[in-house]
Symmetry: C2
Subunit: 166 residues, 2 copies
């Protein structure tokens, strides 16, 4: 199909990227045996913040870096088919998911002109360390990930520094 | 807690990253109004392939770049609270999720010493263009994302090039 105007800026940039592309033939396995579950947040550079480059790690991202069913599905594939042996769960400071309870998020969406989202569980937290510990625990006790090495971290978006929580 | 030895390599690299960090105070909103749903695949550089930098876009990643409930949850937050107005769904060539049916994935996991995963729906596809169209359609018809601009793409991991599907 013709490329749509709504994405013209990024598609033009992609043509430049492709012109200088030098990663042909890179395998799908994670060279460093690592997967990182982190937030969608635009301030996070998952590879750079860990000294990694393309090919090294599988990156999973959703709102709040939560270990949902979708994340478990993805990690099982990463673990058994793509060379992943260790998993980092990385939440971050100033996360919208840790800035208020579920009711305040639903209300903020309505106030922004959005729909009624009361049927969505946004997975907010008022204790980010506790939710990281809980999510790492969920992975460690999952029958689908019996031998994965897991760690929990909080990333400071204002210093670039990771702190290990568990 | 003391930093664990399993992550010593990436934590040492993070100390170097933090020492040169210059993004303090960056806001959480996506400066370019964009969210990208793509695969966890280690060969994909979501920002670089679109000419973006930190701060520009929300990045969502799971196995196969599928629009799951977790992705919808995340996109609703991105749309109404974090300045996202357009969403790209970006699958990629040589994706494990498009390399065989669900039965062959379950069997490959068993063969690799893994557990019985028959209760997990891995969301494999034998027609990647069709699944991208279907996922973009799911977003366009979602009552939770009534006014989002969505496009579907396939990224070639051997050329760096994006192709628009819908």
């Amino acid at each position: 199909m013709p490329e749509s105007t709504e994405f013209a800026d990024v598609l033009a940039a992609n043509a430049t990227y492709a012109a200088g592309f030098a990663m042909a033939g890179l395998p799908g396995e994670a060279a460093r045996g690592l997967a990182v579950v982190t937030c969608m947040d635009s301030r996070i550079e998952p590879l750079a913040m860990l000294g990694l480059r393309a090919g090294d790690a599988k990156i999973l991202r959703n709102a709040g870096a939560r270990v949902t069913d979708d994340v478990v599905r993805t990690l099982v594939l990463a673990r058994y088919l793509l060379n992943v042996e260790r998993v980092m769960v990385v939440a971050h400071t100033r996360c919208r998911m840790a800035s208020g309870d579920a009711a305040s998020i639903h209300e903020a969406i309505r106030a922004a002109g959005g729909p009624d989202t009361s049927s969505i569980a946004f997975l907010t937290t008022d204790d980010q360390e506790a939710s990281v510990r809980s999510d790492v625990g969920l992975m460690r006790s999952s029958p689908y990930l019996p031998d994965v090495v897991a760690g929990g971290f909080i990333y400071d978006v204002d210093t670039g520094r990771l702190r290990q929580v568990c």
